[in-house]
Symmetry: C2
Subunit: 314 residues, 2 copies
């Protein structure tokens, strides 16, 4: 049997045929075109799935289940997407619409949660009971696996780890909270901190790398300048690592997972991110003499969305 995984993003709908071990057999994508609204987008998930099946020489009978990861809050019990802020969706009956195109068991989940499942089935958290996936991108996304299963809370509003308060006296967040972790540890936060530093020190390497056009600063700009040991960039990056570490310390003291899998744009910094992060966590964790969760780079990259969605039906 094969499993279909759908990764719904703001730009593309990615679909893959996945085997029972989480290996992608065939994949494809089509533009989301958000402005169309939910119904044609959801129908396209189904059409692309059928096209891939034909291309791979499979029939609908070979499909065990379909899973869809969406960038928002879902209700896996009703199959309804409660909120998808970036797509402007609210109370969309995704499972109902998609089942009109392919009549198979359909599962929905939040995209970071789905990526956590993927890493747990076929990635860096494979074989581990309790793990946390963090994606450092526009925001900070989180997925929680407890006892090998997705944990998204009682009302499916949990595992929004980017919205844990880490600074009660800090920055207001788009969610209405104060001092949410993603205000300090997302790629967006790193860019903001880099820009602020470059405004104060216009001769720093960060500013030079974008030819003085500070709006062009990316997370990679700050990271590359820090690699070059530019003092301004090093200071910004150290602060970023500190903020990231303190959220992970909070999660160790609360959840105590076996593995943290770190993904998303900022994780492309690789060991230059992970090594100082491990050091900083060690400095602040509660029980320094007892074992605590390993901090690792996520293994599956962009494929985590497809693989994890497919594994929802397993």
């Amino acid at each position: 049997m094969i499993y279909i995984g759908v990764d719904l993003g703001g730009t593309n709908i990615a679909v893959g045929l996945v085997d029972e071990n989480g290996k992608i057999l065939l994949k494809g994508s089509t533009p989301t075109l958000v402005e169309r609204g939910p119904e044609p987008i959801i129908r396209d998930m189904g059409k692309l799935s059928l096209e891939l099946l034909e291309k791979g020489g499979y029939s609908v009978d070979d499909v065990a289940a379909i899973g869809v990861g969406v960038p928002g809050v879902t209700n896996p019990e009703t199959g309804i997407i409660s909120f998808c802020t970036n797509l402007g969706w609210h109370n969309v009956p995704l499972v109902e619409i998609l089942s009109q195109v392919i009549d198979k068991p359909i599962y929905v989940e939040n995209d970071a949660t789905v990526a956590a499942l993927a890493e747990s089935v076929a990635g860096v958290s494979k074989g581990v009971k309790n793990s946390i996936f963090l994606t450092l991108g526009t925001g900070v996304g989180g997925g929680i696996i407890i006892d090998g299963k997705i944990y998204s809370g009682t009302h499916h509003v949990g595992s929004e780890l980017g919205h844990m308060t880490v600074n009660v006296e800090g920055r207001p967040c788009t969610c209405g909270g104060i001092g949410c972790w993603e205000q300090y540890s997302s790629a967006t936060a790193l860019i903001r901190m880099g820009r602020e530093a470059a405004e104060e020190a216009p001769d720093c390497l960060i500013a030079k790398m974008v030819g003085g056009d500070l709006d062009k600063i990316e997370a990679k700009t700050v990271i590359d300048a820090a690699r070059e040991k530019d003092p301004v960039a090093v200071k910004v990056y150290d602060k970023y690592i500190y903020y990231l570490a303190m959220g992970i310390v909070a999660l160790i003291n609360a959840f105590d997972p076996e593995v943290f899998a770190i993904g998303g744009g900022v994780s492309k910094a690789g060991d230059f991110l992970i090594e100082p992060l491990r050091e900083k966590v060690k400095e602040y964790v509660f029980y320094k003499d007892l074992p605590y969760g390993r901090i690792e780079l996520a293994a599956l990259g962009n494929d985590a969305g497809i693989i994890g969605a497919a594994m929802l039906g397993k």
Copy 2:
């Protein structure tokens, strides 16, 4: 069958015989006398248990299991107490020692975790799958119940909710972290904030209530002065409620439990604590239109320690 619950504190060892529904049949206590060291203390747990059995007309054969809640980090798999800072214990083989006095299945757990179990079996979280217990005392203790079972993490160092970072730019904590929640939301924190405010405003009601001796300020002093609408006390208490709310918001966004059970000394303020706390959480929670966990006063008070410990063996 009956269950024996032992609640080990710095002052007293409390023991109770408990039925399968979490009802205390008989209880007693004996001074801990910390300076004796672990072995006589643990033997006293056994002796007091045997005395209670005799007093109640039970035999050892009626006992299904014994559970012990300790103020520290335990390893339920090995029965060893890893750390008990207040008692000065380190790597104490509690189960081994206690089983020399009573040869029954013996379970150990952290005391806040045990209280969470008690509230989940016989208290305010009864019948609920996912709940969090918080105790607001010298520190902030936490216990987590997921799917009706204790969750203390992979390495048993989790559910230290008082050591979640809520202020990355904040106060150093005794645990080696920075800005831990208990630095802002414990009774100790409320006392500190009350004293600092009274130092700045020596005419305030807080100062008057202790006759100017600010070392005599208790959590109750600040709460009582806030009830009397003393502006200085109201400001301190509002701040305290805000800090407490923000940690709960973090836990809603991460764990999304169905119930928060609030216990410990500060919870004696009753509705004067819970009502403004609910209001403040509502103001800052992420998904305001979706249901989230109820915030309730814990129901079992000091008995939670005995009941929860007893229920470890159920």
